[in-house]
Amino acid sequence: MTTTSDDRKIVTFSLAGRMFGIDMSSLIEIREWDEPTPLPRVPDYIRGVANLRGTVIPIVGLAERLGWKPSEVHARSCVLVVGLGARQAGFLVDEVNDIVAIDGSAIQPAPEVQIAEPGVVAGLVATNLRGDGGERTTMVTLLDLDALGVTRQLDAAA
C-alpha cells in the first residue's frame, strides 16, 4: 500500500459544540478529568496543576483560553496532555472523538477564522468521523496549541 507523502495523524475532539483537531505528534496522553490543584495568581483559564508522572503540568481550560465560557465537566470530559517544545501542558476538552489520518495537502487555510491569537488556527480539513448515525464528513478546525502562548510570561496582577 502506498502512503501519500504527507500523511498526518490528528486527534479530534469536541469543544463548545465544534470539532477540533491537533497533531498527534504533540500528544503525550489522554487523561480522565481529575480536579487539579488550584494555583493562585494565575489567569482564570489555568485551572490548576496536576502531577504527570512526577512532573507538574498546568491544566488549561481550553474553552476559556479560546475566549468562550468555561467547559462544564462531565463524565466524558478529558484532558489532552501535549508537549509544546520542551514544555508540557494539559488541555480540558469536552470529549475526545478519534484519531484519524489525514492528507496534509487536504488542509485548507482558514484566515477568516480567528480564535484567540493569530496562528492558533492551523487550518481546516474535511474528514470522515464517526458520529451518531455512523460516519460522516465533518469539518475539523486544526489548532496549533503552541501558538496559544500559555507559556509566555504572563504574571497576573496581584
Binding site: T37, P38, V49, N51, R152
Partner: protein, 686 residues
C-alpha cells in the same frame, strides 16, 4: 567496526572540548600573572593530547596547527621562551584558533585559515627549523646508531647484481642494557625470520662457563641473512630501539652468502666494552613533583543521570508515603528514619553528579572582556563571586551564550567611555560584577555594571518605532526595562558583532525561560544596570513545613523558619489600615496574611485561630506569615513550576505529597520582599 571508531572519535572530540577549556583557563591564569610551572605543563598536555588524537583520526589541518602550537608551548615549559605579554596574547588567540580547528574537524567543515597565526607561532621558534607541512613523524627513516666494528667485507665494492638485490647480512649482539630493558634477543631474531631471514651463525665464543655466567648478561653474537627484497627500513625498524646500546650492522653483501661468514677481528671482551651501555645521564626525573589535584573522572550519559535523578525523586516520595501511612511507633519498628537518611544520602550524591561549579560558564568572561576592550577601547574590571556555586550541567551548557550577550551589552551600551565616566566622577575603568548563588531551590546569576544605566527614553522611543507599544501607552520603569527583551526590539543593525547570529535579548530571555527560569532587570540612570537570571535547580530536596491555607496545602522551606507562634488575642494589631504587626518579646514583627497574598478563599481570619510562622529573610529581616494550621515537617522533592508554566510570584515550585496530591512551595523572599510593586509584563506583541 567503523561504528566503534565513530564512537571513539566522538569521545575524542569531547576530550578536545575539555582540553580546550583547560588550555584557555591555564593561559588566562598565565596572562593574569601566574608563573606556576604546573599551569604551563597542564596547557601543554591539553594541546598535546589534542594533537595526538588528531593524528590518529586523520585530521590533518588540526594536527598541523596543534603541532605548531604544541612546539611553542614546549619551548615555554622548557624555559626556552619567556611568558611575555605578547606571547601569551598569541597563545590565547591560538587556543581560539585551535577551538575553531577542532570544530571544523568535528563538523567536517573546511579548516579555518590559520596562516597568520601559524606564521606568528613559527616566528617565536626561530631557533628551531620551520615545520614541514606534514609534521608526521618519519620514524622509519631514523638513523640508528651503532658501535662501529672493523669489518672486512671486500665484496662491498663489487657491483651489485641488477636482477636481484643483494641479500642483507646482519650482525647482531644485544647489550646487557638492552636485555635489561626487558628485551629478548630471541624475539628480534624471530621477527627477522618473519621477514624472510635466517640465522646463519651464532658466535658463542664470549660465553663464560656456566658457573660464571650472569643470566642477564649478553654474550651471543648472531649473524643473519635476509633476502635482498626486504626493505632496509623494515630491518632497521626491528632493531631501531635497541640499536644505540647494541652491536648491529645491516649491510648488503654479494650473493652467495656462505654459511661461514668470517668473524670480525675483535675479541668478545672488547666488543662488550665497546657496547657498554651508554651512561647518558638521564634528565633529572627525580625532581619533586608538586602534588596536582586531579580528579578521576568517568563519562556518563546525561540522559542516564536524568533517569537516575527521577528515580531518586520517586524514592523520596515513596518514603513520604510510608511516613504518611505508618504511625510513629511503626515507623520506628521498620526503621524508617534510617531509610530516610539513606535516601537523602543517595539523593545528595546523585545531585552532585550533575552539579558542576558555574565557574565553567564564567571562565570565558575574562577573555571576552579582553576582546571587548580591544574592540571598544573601554577598560573594564571584572569581579566574580560565587563561581564555586554548583549548578546542573545543562544550565552551564545553556547559560554560556546568554552570559556572553549580557556582558557584551554591558560593555557596549552600559559602560560609558572613559572621559564620560571621569566627567561624572566615576573611575575611568568600568566594573562588571558577575555573581552566582543558590537561594532556596533557585540559582541566581547576576551581571551588574556600574555604567550609565538604561536610557529609558531611548528604549521607549525605539519600542514605539518598532510598533511594540502604542505611542501613548503608559509604562512603568520596569515595563520599559523589559521591553529590551521583547521580540523585535533589537535588530541586526544594533547587534554588534555576535558572529552574525542576531542574538538579541529576546533570545537570551527565551533561552533562560527554556531552562525554566526568568530574567529580571534593574537599572538606575547614572549608576548602573543589573541583569539577574533566576534558574531552578533541576531537582532538589527541600526540608519543608507543610501548612494549610483554606484547606489547601503549601510547603514552607524550613531553612527560613525561625519559629511558629499561636497569637494570643491582642498580640496582633494594625498600625495602619493595610498593615499588621505582631508583638513578639518586646518587638513588633510585620505580619503577612498568606491567604490574602495568594487570594485564597476560606482561610482562617482570626489570628488566634491560626498560626504565625516567623521567618527570616535577608532583606526584610524577620516577618510573620499567617497560616491556618501546620501539618508536619517533611522532606519534599521540588518540582519546577517554571518549566511547564511560568514563574508565579511567591511560589518557588511545587511538590508531590505522599498521597499523590500537589502542594505548592512558597518563595519566602518574594512574599516578604519589601518591593510592593508587582512587575507587570504584558504581552506586548499584539
Amino acid at each position: 567496526m567503523s561504528d566503534d571508531l565513530d564512537a571513539i572519535q566522538a569521545i575524542f572530540f569531547e576530550e578536545c572540548a575539555e582540553g580546550l577549556v583547560a588550555a584557555e583557563a591555564g593561559l588566562s591564569e598565565l596572562a593574569e600573572g601566574s608563573r606556576d610551572p604546573e599551569v604551563i605543563a597542564a596547557v601543554f598536555r591539553a594541546v598535546h593530547s589534542i594533537k595526538g588524537g588528531s593524528g590518529a583520526f586523520g585530521h590533518d589541518a588540526l594536527l598541523g596547527f596543534s603541532h605548531r602550537f604544541e612546539n611553542v608551548l614546549d619551548a615555554l615549559r622548557a624555559g626556552r621562551l619567556e611568558p611575555s605579554e605578547p606571547l601569551l596574547q598569541l597563545l590565547l588567540q591560538s587556543s581560539d584558533m585551535l577551538a575553531d580547528h577542532v570544530a571544523a574537524a568535528r563538523d567536517g567543515a573546511a579548516a579555518p585559515a590559520d596562516q597568520t597565526l601559524a606564521a606568528q607561532l613559527d616566528g617565536w621558534l626561530d631557533a628551531e627549523p620551520p615545520l614541514a607541512a606534514d609534521p608526521g613523524p618519519t620514524i622509519e627513516e631514523d638513523e640508528f646508531g651503532f658501535a662501529p666494528v672493523a669489518v672486512s667485507l671486500d665484496d662491498l665494492d663489487a657491483a651489485p647484481s641488477l636482477d636481484v638485490p643483494a641479500p642483507w647480512q646482519i650482525r647482531f649482539r644485544p647489550s646487557a642494557a638492552a636485555l635489561a630493558n626487558g628485551g629478548e634477543a630471541l624475539l628480534l631474531l624471530r621477527e627477522v625470520e618473519r621477514l624472510g631471514g635466517e640465522v646463519i651463525a651464532c658466535d658463542t665464543t664470549a660465553l663464560p662457563p656456566l658457573e660464571e655466567m650472569d643470566p642477564e648478561g649478553a654474550y651471543m653474537l648472531w649473524t643473519l641473512s635476509v633476502p635482498g627484497e626486504v626493505a632496509e627500513e623494515d630491518l632497521s625498524d626491528c632493531f631501531d630501539f635497541v640499536a644505540p646500546d647494541s652491536l648491529i650492522e645491516i649491510e648488503r653483501t654479494d650473493p652467495p652468502v656462505t654459511a661461514d661468514v668470517p668473524m670480525p677481528e675483535q675479541s668478545p671482551a672488547s666488543a662488550l666494552d665497546r657496547v657498554a651501555p651508554s651512561d647518558a645521564a638521564p634528565d633529572a626525573t627525580t625532581a619533586e613533583r608538586r602534588p596536582i589535584e586531579r580528579s578521576e573522572t568517568i563519562r556518563v550519559d546525561l540522559g542516564k543521570l536524568d533517569g537516575l535523578l527521577n528515580l531518586v525523586g520517586e524514592l523520596v516520595i515513596r518514603n513520604s508515603i510510608l511516613a504518611d501511612r505508618l504511625g510513629p511507633p511503626e515507623q520506628e519498628k521498620v526503621e524508617l528514619p534510617q531509610l530516610s537518611r539513606l535516601t537523602r544520602s543517595i539523593q545528595d550524591m546523585v545531585m552532585s553528579l550533575r552539579a558542576q561549579p558555574i565557574q565553567q560558564a564564567f571562565s570565558r568572561v575574562p577573555r571576552l572582556l579582553r576582546e571587548l576592550e580591544s574592540e571598544t577601547g573601554k577598560k573594564v574590571l571584572l569581579e566574580v563571586s560565587g563561581e564555586g556555586t554548583e549548578v546542573d550541567k545543562r544550565v552551564i551548557e545553556r547559560i554560556g551564550d546568554p552570559l556572553t550577550h549580557m556582558i557584551r551589552n554591558a560593555v557596549d551600551h552600559g559602560i560609558e567611555p572613559a572621559e564620560q565616566r571621569l566627567a561624572a566622577g566615576k573611575s575611568a575603568a568600568g566594573t562588571i560584577r558577575l555573581s552566582a548563588q543558590q537561594r532556596g531551590g533557585r540559582i541566581v546569576v547576576r551581571v551588574e555594571d556600574d555604567g550609565g544605566g538604561i536610557d529609558r527614553e531611548a528604549v521607549r522611543a525605539r519600542a514605539i518605532e518598532r510598533g511594540l507599544v502604542a505611542a501613548d501607552a503608559i509604562l512603568s520603569d520596569e515595563d520599559i526595562d523589559q521591553l529590551i527583551c521583547a521580540p523585535g526590539f533589537s535588530t541586526a543593525a544594533s547587534i554588534s558583532n555576535i558572529s552574525g547570529r542576531g542574538v538579541g535579548m529576546d533570545v537570551v530571555r527565551s533561552n533562560i525561560e527554556g531552562l525554566g527560569g526568568r530574567v529580571e532587570i534593574a537599572s538606575e540612570p547614572g549608576v548602573g544596570t543589573s541583569f539577574t537570571l533566576v534558574l531552578p535547580l533541576t531537582l532538589a530536596i527541600l526540608d519543608g513545613m507543610v501548612v494549610r491555607l483554606g484547606g489547601q496545602r503549601f510547603v514552607l522551606p524550613l531553612q527560613s523558619v525561625i519559629e511558629s507562634v499561636r497569637p494570643e488575642p491582642g498580640q496582633v494589631s494594625a498600625p495602619t489600615p493595610d498593615s499588621e504587626v505582631m508583638e513578639l518579646r518586646g518587638s513588633y514583627l510585620p505580619l503577612r496574611r498568606l491567604a490574602d497574598f495568594f487570594g485564597i478563599r476560606g482561610a482562617e481570619k482570626r489570628p488566634e485561630n491560626g498560626l504565625v510562622i516567623v521567618v527570616e529573610d535577608d532583606s526584610a529581616g524577620q516577618v510573620g506569615l499567617f497560616v491556618d494550621t501546620v501539618d508536619d515537617r517533611r522532606e519534599v522533592v521540588i518540582k519546577s513550576l517554571d518549566q511547564n508554566l511560568h514563574p508565579i510570584r511567591g511560589l518557588g515550585g511545587a511538590t508531590v505529597l505522599g498521597d499523590g496530591s500537589i502542594a505548592l512551595i512558597l518563595d519566602v523572599d518574594a512574599i516578604v520582599g519589601t518591593a510592593p510593586a508587582v512587575r507587570q509584563q504584558r504581552d506586548l506583541a499584539a
